[in-house]
C-alpha cells in the first residue's frame, strides 16, 4: 500500500498562488511570500500583498520558529485522523504571520501547552506529493 492510499485525511490542492508554498513543504522548507514594495510577509499566500495590494511578491524561507498563539484539543476525530485527542493550533511565526497547524505532542493537556510557548516546524510527509507543516514545542 502506498502513502496516498494510506492517508485518509483532508488534503490541500494547490492553486497558482499557493503552489510554491506546497512545493516548499515537500522539500521541508517553510516558504512565505514577502512583498518587495512594503516589505511585509503574509499568510496564507495570495496573488497580491494584503497590506498594500502590490503584486511584487517573492518567496523566502521562514525560520520555522514561532509561538503557540492559541489552540484547541480535539476529541472528535476528523476524517482520516486516527488518534484522538489531537491539537489544532494557530502559531504566530517569528516573521509575523499566523497559520493554522497541528502541534505534534503525545497526550496533550492544557498544562503541557502554555499559550505563547515556543514552537518549531516539523514536516509531515502525509502523501508522496503533500507535506503538511506541523509544529512541536521547543524544549527549554
Amino acid at each position: 500500500m502506498n502513502a496516498v492510499e494510506a492517508y485518509g485525511g483532508a488534503l490541500p490542492k494547490p492553486t497558482p498562488e499557493t503552489q510554491a508554498f506546497w512545493d516548499g513543504t515537500r522539500e521541508h522548507r517553510l516558504m512565505l511570500p514577502w512583498c518587495t514594495d512594503c516589505g511585509r510577509p503574509h499568510f496564507y499566500p495570495r496573488s497580491i500583498c494584503p497590506f498594500c495590494l502590490s503584486a511584487k511578491l517573492e518567496w523566502r524561507e521562514a525560520s520555522g520558529r514561532g509561538k503557540l498563539h492559541t489552540y484547541v484539543i480535539n476529541f472528535k476525530a476528523a476524517k482520516g485522523f486516527t488518534k484522538v485527542p489531537y491539537v489544532i493550533a494557530v502559531v504566530e511565526l517569528d516573521e509575523g504571520p499566523r497559520m493554522m497547524t497541528n502541534i505534534v505532542i503525545d497526550d496533550p493537556t492544557p498544562e503541557a501547552l502554555p499559550i505563547d510557548a515556543l514552537v518549531e516546524v516539523v514536516f509531515d510527509d502525509v502523501t508522496e506529493t503533500i507535506t503538511l507543516p506541523k509544529f512541536r514545542l521547543v524544549q527549554q
Binding site: 490542492k13 494547490p14 476529541f75 472528535k76
Partner: protein
C-alpha cells in the same frame, strides 16, 4: 438622534415551521416552504403579495421556483448564521428604495436529518488548503480556537464560561417549544462534567443540532400599521465581514465584524447599550455571547466572564443568573442555540424570539415591559456579523 433608514420599515409577519427538532420527513426546501407559508399567514398576506425574496440555505433561484413566484427583488447573501439578520438590513434598504414593498426572508435547514444539504468547500479553497488538512471538522473545532487566547489575555475562566449554558437552560425550561424544555436545569459543574468535545468546549458548551425553519415579512413602517399584529419597528442595523478562516482572525479576543456592525446599528438607532431591554446574542457555543457582549459595548473588554458568572439566590434558594429569568439583563430568552434549537444558520430564530418578546407573546418566558431588543449574530466563526435593534413603539 436617529440616522439613515431608522424606523422606515417594520416586521409584520413572523413564524417558525410547525415543528422543530427532528424532521426526517421534510427536505431542506420543504422546510423553507412551510416557514414561508406560516409567516405569510401570520401577516395575513398571500404568496402573490411577496415582491422581495431573501434566502440563502435555499438559493433565490431554487426558492422562487419551489414557491412558484417571480419576486422583483432578490438577495442571496450567504455568510453563515447571521445572513438572515443581514437580510433584514437589506430589506429595509430595498423597501426605502422602492425596489420591493413586501420582503419575505426565509430560513430552512435540514441540519440534523441532512436531506438535500451541501457539504464543505473545495480542496483548492483557502480553507481546503490551510485549515481542513489539520483535522478541523465540525464547528466545535473552529469556534473554540479564539477561546484560550481570551482566557490568557483577560484571565477569563472555563468556570465563568460554564455559566452561559446554565443560564440559558433556565429560559428553555420556561419555553415549551425548546428542545431542552423537559431536560431539567443544569449547573456550571454539569457543563464541565459533560463529555469533552474539543477543549475548552464540553458537550454542553455546544449548540443543539436540529431541523427546522422560520420566516419573517417586512414592509414599510407606513403600511405596517394595517396588519393584524403589532408592528416591530427596525431602529438600527449593521453588518460586516472580516475573514473566512478562523486562523485569519486579526485578534482572537475581538470580533472585528461585531464591532463594525454594532456601531452602525447603535448609531442608526440613536441608542446606546444602556437603552436595550433584551438581547438575542447568537449562541452557537457558550463563548460566543461573551465575545458579543464585550464587542457590542455592553461590558468592557475582558469583563464578560465575571458578568455571566454573577448569580444570586432567590428566597426559595434557587440560583438566579444575571442573564437568566429574573436577572438584570435577559439574554437568549427562547433557550438559545444551546437549549432551544440550532439548525446550522440560527440567526432567524434569534430574530423570531426578539419579535415574540416585543409583541408580548412569549408566554411564561415573557420579559415584562420591554420596548427594545438587540439581535446580534456571527457568520461562520466570528467571520461576519450583523446587528439589529428592534422596538415595539
Amino acid at each position: 438622534m436617529t440616522r439613515g433608514l431608522s424606523r422606515t420599515a417594520a416586521i409584520v409577519g413572523a413564524a417558525e415551521t410547525d415543528r422543530i427538532g427532528k424532521l426526517p420527513g421534510m427536505s431542506r426546501l420543504a422546510i423553507h416552504a412551510e416557514a414561508a407559508k406560516n409567516a405569510l399567514a401570520d401577516a395575513g398576506l398571500k404568496l402573490s403579495d411577496v415582491d422581495g425574496l431573501f434566502t440563502c440555505v435555499a438559493g433565490p433561484n431554487e426558492l422562487s421556483e419551489y414557491l412558484n413566484i417571480v419576486p422583483r427583488y432578490v438577495d442571496g447573501t450567504s455568510v453563515g448564521g447571521c445572513s438572515y439578520i443581514i437580510f433584514v438590513r437589506h430589506a429595509v434598504a430595498a423597501i426605502a428604495a422602492g425596489y420591493c414593498e413586501v420582503a419575505l426572508i426565509v430560513h430552512g435547514e435540514s441540519g440534523r436529518s441532512w436531506i438535500d444539504m451541501e457539504g464543505q468547500g473545495t480542496q483548492q479553497s483557502p480553507a481546503g488548503q490551510f485549515e481542513l488538512p489539520y483535522g478541523v471538522a465540525a464547528a466545535p473545532t473552529t469556534y473554540s480556537i479564539p477561546v484560550l487566547r481570551h482566557f490568557h489575555e483577560y484571565g477569563t475562566t472555563k468556570r465563568q464560561m460554564s455559566h452561559v449554558p446554565a443560564a440559558t437552560r433556565e429560559w428553555a425550561l420556561l419555553n415549551p417549544r425548546a428542545l431542552m424544555h423537559s431536560a431539567g436545569p443544569i449547573t456550571p459543574e454539569d457543563v464541565e462534567a459533560s463529555p469533552m468535545v474539543c477543549y475548552p468546549f464540553n458537550k454542553l458548551d455546544c449548540c443543539l443540532v436540529a431541523d427546522g425553519g422560520g420566516a419573517i415579512v417586512i414592509t414599510s413602517a407606513e403600511r405596517a400599521k394595517d396588519f393584524p399584529n403589532r408592528p416591530i419597528y427596525i431602529l438600527g442595523t449593521g453588518e460586516a465581514t472580516a475573514h473566512r478562516q478562523i486562523a485569519m482572525m486579526r485578534d482572537f479576543t475581538t470580533s472585528d465584524a461585531t464591532v463594525v456592525s454594532g456601531r452602525a446599528a447603535f448609531a442608526e438607532a440613536g441608542l446606546t447599550p444602556a437603552d436595550i431591554d433584551h438581547l438575542m446574542l447568537y449562541d452557537a457555543f457558550s463563548f460566543t455571547p461573551m465575545m458579543f457582549l464585550e464587542d457590542l459595548g455592553f461590558v468592557a473588554k475582558g469583563e464578560s466572564g465575571p458578568f455571566f458568572a454573577e448569580t444570586r439566590k432567590a428566597p426559595d434558594g434557587t440560583t438566579i443568573y444575571k442573564t437568566g429569568p429574573g436577572g438584570d439583563l435577559p439574554i437568549n430568552t427562547n433557550g438559545g442555540g444551546l437549549s432551544y434549537c440550532h439548525t446550522g444558520r440560527y440567526g432567524m430564530f434569534a430574530i423570531l424570539e426578539a419579535v415574540a418578546q416585543l409583541r408580548g407573546t412569549a408566554g411564561r418566558r415573557q420579559v415584562p415591559g420591554i420596548e427594545t431588543s438587540l439581535v446580534h449574530g456571527p457568520g461562520r466563526q466570528f467571520a461576519a456579523a450583523s446587528t439589529l435593534i428592534l422596538s415595539n413603539v
